[in-house]
Subunit: 147 residues, 2 copies
Amino acid sequence: MKRDSRLSSVLHALLHMAEHDRPMTSEALAQCMNTNPVVVRRTMGLLREAGIVASARGHAGGWSITADLSTVTLRQLHEVLGEPAVFAIGNHSEVPECLVEQSVNAALDGAFAKAEALLLEHFAQVRIGDIAADFARRHQSIRTPQA
Amino acid sequence: MKRDSRLSSVLHALLHMAEHDRPMTSEALAQCMNTNPVVVRRTMGLLREAGIVASARGHAGGWSITADLSTVTLRQLHEVLGEPAVFAIGNHSEVPECLVEQSVNAALDGAFAKAEALLLEHFAQVRIGDIAADFARRHQSIRTPQA
DNA sequence: TTTCATGTAACTTTTGATATTACGAATATG
DNA sequence: CATATTCGTAATATCAAAAGTTACATGAAA
């Protein structure tokens, strides 16, 4: 299975945008992120629907942030992306007739559900603004490496 | 992405085998599990290397359980399968040069690591014998449905 | 009106899991 | 010992999901 890296991608994009005064084009974001402008538009389009960013066409167009990043959480972004499947491990059949398989699924489902709940709780507590601040700290430590 | 269902599969196989006195052939297991005999051999081969099952060729050959299932945990099986990736969501690049992406990865990695740790802890506490017992209970409730 | 930039459908590529084919090796049975 | 059975395994094919690409329409600014 190929892993879904859109959450990572949109975070990356948002942080770059937060550093810019003016809108960034899909082209520019794609270069930052080592991907394709169309992929950027597709993914950022979901954030636009959620009111987190806005897009403008034509000259001086591009993507800009509309929400307050200190109020947007990882969990919201995950939801905006359509709540993609979290696990790469799963049952062979989700609706088995076989009684044995039903017991197997029951044993696994509980464990996965708890882990997913923990992950989403954690996501709910991480605000994008916090990540931006973390970036600022790292950036600072490079500009002034002597402590 | 297709999900890795081998953990589910080997559990299914072990429980069926536990119900049998004699060895079960790859063919028979494959039918139970709605898959292919070669896939069964490949996966069960890993359990054999770990000493959980044994295989015999020729007449009356097949797969049989050698370990005490009440001492084998889900976590062990996960290890035996090579500790496959747990998450279907991940970073765009694991070793980014971009400082922004480093902050993004840091934010996500922590959350995923905690969720994985919880999952594996849970796995460590589930013994295959317990699942077999759960199955026996369900099986019983069908044989004697009037409570 | 030309250029820039998004919007989006359609298609291709890539990747990882699973399935299949084919054949070799070992073992029990008559 | 000949044969049927069953695993062992390499090589290949199929499948599904994510990501990338192409192509072109739409809209906005200079």
